[in-house]
């Protein structure tokens, strides 16, 4: 970890002004911001750990807890909202039994809401592991979850 962080920090000439991009790179390397990594960044940049936490908790892009194997990002930008994104979000929360912003206990799924993805024509948009799915419906979302191994109740007879 120390070496990886040293590599990132030196990319920004150990300049504390680049704390936000540095943390972005750290998060990319470890999938989230582990406490030890933040401490290491603080030591290497000579920035107090309180400042690091201030920044790490301020920006929405940072996560202090591990994220799931599958990342689900539902666009709740205005255009997607007026096309019913909230209903789909409720559906995903119900199936995964977590709230937006959380990760399932088995670390399989992280579900997050995001703002406009620039694909409003396709709204509502759900991005699953970086792949865009447009004109999202509850049924489509369930199908995607099923495919990724989450059993969605439909034990009804197939008639």
């Amino acid at each position: 970890m120390e070496a990886k962080i040293a590599e990132i920090v030196s990319k920004y000439q150990s300049n504390p002004g680049f704390l936000v991009p540095i943390l972005q790179d750290v998060q990319k390397a470890f999938n989230y911001l582990p406490r030890e990594a933040l401490q290491e960044v603080g030591t290497q940049l000579k920035v107090p750990i309180s400042r690091i936490f201030e920044v790490a908790t301020f920006y929405k892009a940072f996560s202090l807890t591990p994220r799931g194997r599958h990342q689900m990002h539902l666009c709740v930008g205005t255009a997607c909202h007026v096309r019913g994104a909230a209903m789909i979000g409720d559906g995903i929360e119900r199936v995964l039994e977590i709230k937006a912003g959380e990760t399932t206990a088995d670390l399989e799924f992280t579900f997050e809401t995001v703002n406009c993805l620039g694909a409003c024509a396709l709204g509502p948009v759900l991005v699953v592991d970086e792949e865009y799915h447009g004109q999202m419906t509850l049924a489509k979302a369930n199908k995607i979850l099923n495919k990724l191994g989450k059993k969605v109740v439909s034990d009804e007879e197939e008639d």
Binding site: N15, P16, G17, F18, L19, V20, P21, L23, Q24, R51, E54, V55, F58, Y59, K60, A61, F62, V76, G77, T78, A79, H81, V82, R83, G84, A86, M87, D90, G91, R94, V114, N115, C116, L117, G118, A119, C120, A121, L122, G123, V125, Y132, G134, T137, L138, A139, V153, S154, E156, D159
Partner: protein, 618 residues
Amino acid sequence: MKKKIESPAELTRLQSELKGRIDPAQPCIAICAGTGCMAYGTQKIVDRFREEIQARGLEGQVAFRTTGCHGFCEKGPMVVIHPDRIFYQRIGIDDVPEIIEKTVLGQEVIERLLYKDPVTKQRIVHEHEVPFYGRQMRLVFGSNGLIEPTSIEDYLAIGGYSALAKAIGGMAPQAVIDAVITAKLRGRGGGGFPTGWKWDATRKAEGDPKYVICNADEGDPGAYMDRSLLEGNPHSVLEGMIIGAYAIGSSHGYIYVRNEYPLAVKNITLAIEQARDLGLVGENILGSGFSFDILINRGGGAFVCGESSALFASIEGRAGEPRAKYVHATDKGLYDKPTCLNNVETWANVPLIIDKGADWYAGIGTENSKGTKIFSLVGKINNTGLVEVPMGITLREIVYDIGGGIPKGRKFKAVQTGGPSGGCIPEAHLDSPVDFDELTKLGSMMGSGGMIVMDDRNCMVDVAKYFLAFLEGESCGKCTPCREGILQMRKILERICQGEGRMEDLDTLQWMGQAIADGSLCALGGSAPNPVLTTIRYFRDEYEAHIKDKKCPAGVCKALITFSVDPEACTGCRACARVCPTEAATGKKKEVHTIDAAKCIKCGACFEACKFDAIKIA
């Protein structure tokens, strides 16, 4: 081509050389590879075109360009085939060989891929004849479809960096500022502050170095034009910034761009490198003695960081909290040095003004709003996309003539402009001209250019609540009225949506809105009440329906609606019963189904699944 250009004259020579290399009669396939089209799976089509061109040995005869966003996102994936500008929409991978065979090589038009006018039912062959484009004025955005954003040669070949050569080669810095003042350019980031005056103040401020910054934070959750400009034509933004830096006397620039925009980050990073290689950025630009360099700073996704002083804090590596504005950024901005912050689109307007002249520019638009504005026309609209229109065009022209009206023949209800700081404008004001001052008069604002169309299935109370919830999460928390006030207003709206509202809530919302606006440090809090205040102003009866009748006329607020089966329409297909997660919807095959209100959680699954419109929401 890595040799630095040493004078404006040399730049002009290079431009004409590059232009000369392009044979205007040569067929060129320009495919839109903007974010929207990429989401449709355009990458596979791009690969297919490349393979096909290679397999047929057509390299050198047929040019192929992957461009930025063309704007007509509704109809992607799309290609335009030059020189005739034949426009094909919603193309698939399998159409590729036919397009090359018939249209590119054989001059034959493929009917089925043409755009069909929904009104006249006519197929339209050329891009410029499509009504969506026809009513626009694409001065800033138009080049997106012509160039590869990753090629500085493309940009130079269409005359790019001429304005820079003109400014540096023959205009004193003050003359550049005067031109921007005469053009009456106003900031496109939301506030509409006169750009020239801001430059002038920064130029005259004491302090060294001076900074120029491009605001590409684009926080409005329904807008994506800044992103598309940076992705599709990064050099135009860069050129504007270099000209601005020259005029202001700045040696250091920043581009603050959201990390969630990876393609924009990539393209602008590359653009800066290319410009540096050619001596358009860096030391002694075009041999003039003027030096200027730019760094990119990736934002961490906080709406408030679009605000100027919060943005400076973020670039300095701190949490993005605004500070009081009695000190102007033009005096003490980034690192307490004189700083000029402008929006992406503002910067992209600058080369136009210098190139074509301030008077030409000032001839477009209305008395106090000049030039064009790019809007993201989205929501319940037939032609979703980015549209660039002259200031002064009416909302009706945008929604109906360009946007093609409301899908499925539903009724127009409102158009929301200005993002979370703006408001919802009803039908009665559709004929208002769109400019900074007129939109403000209506209680909304220009904002960064989100334009969200809503129909009769959208609840105005819900929309107001949506924006408040957004702002509640984005408030930096420094001022109590903003942090606590927005939360309380949202709770009141929540209650109204639950059917537990009281008529006096409307008064409370109004005075509270005023108090929040008055008591907030920055414009986030200052404008936060707008979505609530405008919806109360224009859609009071809808609030009253929620409060008095306990009804949500649009059928959105869960507590106030019930799901039921229309026995006339139900065919007993069991689609609803199969998807219902709580077994509320039940029924035997071929018999009319029912929904048990006690079990129903109003998730909407049955409504979505029914093919016969038999699920009624009331």
